[in-house]
């Protein structure tokens, strides 16, 4: 019973339970566990009754207790590791969305030119959740768009008879790596420019994830209308996304107390925003052109 050694607290309990196993047929089921160790069946009680209980109580209960202790131990470990890296409450803010918000945000991503007010609203220094404020970034759309992009890439490759699980995995990991590079570059830029802003890593992840919506639209148009449709959709979604990023990051990166700061800092922030925006069409093209031939 080598597996007992790893769990000190539970080990002794299981060793006591496991002891009566060698002679289950002679268990006395009338009195419960205390009489198991030395009991003999009372005369006249049916053996059938005993057989049923031998299948039920000692072995199954011990196994179940052991299994549930493993499960809770594993769950605690996962929770601990997760909480070291990710604050779940902060993450929950980005997923507090509803259907109306998602619909309006998708419309905004495709046609941002008529939207007037781009500032994220606050209530007593706490930013409003995406349910209440259209300008707040969320992580639901980027996550779903990324998964849809991977599935759509699989379908596009399947249509072109170039599908294999390795190619799909390559597509997915390329997209993920480029997103990580972009977020790291933005973080580095924000740090070097000593911009004190409200933009956390999750904000940057959200803004850089919005490009997947544009990618999906381009690939769909390319699949339906051929190469010309792809380039038209690419141009449209790229310009819409660039406008969206510039307007959103402009108001987000400027924190309230840096309004009167030195002009060079504001210029650096502007260059950073423009650089992030200009990077989007390149990435969209790079990640989708091989899907539409």
């Amino acid at each position: 019973m080598a597996y007992h050694s790893g769990y000190g607290v539970h080990g002794s309990k299981h060793r006591a339970r496991a002891a009566p196993d060698p002679s289950p047929l002679f268990d006395d089921t009338s009195g419960g566990y205390s009489s198991q160790l030395g009991g003999y069946p009372a005369p006249g009680v049916d053996v059938a009754f005993n057989v049923n209980h031998l299948l039920g109580d000692p072995v199954a209960n011990a196994a179940m207790a052991y299994g549930s202790s493993i499960a809770s131990h594993g769950k605690d470990m996962v929770n601990k590791e997760l909480h070291r890296f990710v604050s779940v409450n902060k993450l929950k803010y980005f997923f507090a969305v509803d259907t109306a918000y998602v619909a309006k945000k998708l419309g905004l991503l495709v046609f941002p030119y008529t939207h007037q007010n781009w500032e994220v609203q606050y209530s007593r220094d706490v930013p409003l959740s995406p349910r209440q404020d259209l300008n707040a970034p969320d992580l639901y759309i980027p996550t779903m768009a990324f998964i849809t992009y991977v599935l759509l890439a699989g379908m596009a490759l399947g249509i072109q008879k170039r599908f294999s699980p390795e190619v799909l995995g390559l597509c997915a990991s390329t997209a993920l790596v480029w997103m990580v590079i972009e977020v790291l570059a933005l973080l580095l830029g924000l740090y070097l420019a000593t911009v004190r802003s409200e933009l956390s890593t999750f904000h940057l992840l959200a803004y850089s994830g919005y490009k997947y919506v544009g990618m999906i639209l381009s690939v769909l148009t390319g699949l339906l209308f051929g190469s010309d449709g792809y380039y038209v959709a690419l141009a449209w979604t790229s310009s819409a996304l660039m406008y969206f990023i510039v307007r959103s990051l402009q108001t987000a990166a400027l924190s309230p107390d840096s309004m009167g700061g030195p002009g060079s800092r504001q210029r650096v922030q502007l260059y950073l925003t423009l650089g992030a925006a200009a990077f989007q069409p390149l990435i969209i093209y790079w990640l989708t052109f091989h899907l539409v031939r």
Binding site: F49, V97, D98, A100, V102, T143, I147, T148, L151
Partner: protein, 179 residues
């Protein structure tokens, strides 16, 4: 006299020990089969994996009948899909949800997929009509799943948002059925 008492006792002990409540299983199956009927929030209180297990075995069996031996794919995809939707639901709802509950709901809503794959044994699903049927079945599965999740976790205004990832998951199953 003694034998009769024993017989009755053994049956009761069996029911309680196995914990299978056939009435609840039937109620949940009816809820899945009728996507328009509003779901009762309390039916998901006990996590029961009997129905889902039966349905996955039935799905594997009907795929086998159609000549596709893909048990590993089915179980792998369902495990990863369950994990993903469990994470998403925990982030989106105010109350948490356990993994067993998610697996149970998703497994119950697999029933229309089983019906679809048994149809696929007799007639091929490729072509326009087949694609339309597949899309309708995917919509049916995901609407039922999202309806049960919404009522069990008390989330308003998010039914379509939950239905979309479920539709992606059931779409993967449908891909296995069609191709």
């Amino acid at each position: 006299m003694g034998t009769k008492t024993c017989h009755v006792k053994v049956r009761d002990a069996n029911d309680e020990e196995l914990g299978i409540n056939f009435d609840h299983i039937w109620q949940k199956t009816l809820t899945v089969l009728n996507p328009m009927k509003p779901a009762d929030g309390s039916i998901m209180n006990e996590t029961d994996l009997t129905g889902p297990f039966l349905f996955s075995v039935a799905l594997g069996a009907s795929l086998l009948l159609a000549g596709k031996v893909q048990f590993g794919c089915v179980y792998g995809m369902s495990a990863i899909g369950c994990l993903g939707i469990h994470a998403l639901l925990n982030l989106m709802s105010s109350a948490g949800v356990s993994y067993g509950c998610v697996a149970s709901v998703l497994g119950y809503c697999l029933l229309p997929m089983v019906i679809l794959s048994s149809c696929a044994v007799f007639c091929s699903l490729q072509g326009t009509l087949g694609t339309l049927t597949v899309l309708i079945f995917i919509g049916w599965c995901s609407l039922s799943a999202s309806k049960i999740f919404i009522s069990a976790l008390d989330m308003e205004g998010q039914q379509l948002l939950i239905a979309y990832p479920c539709a992606l998951l059931y779409g993967l199953f449908a891909l296995l059925t069609v191709f």
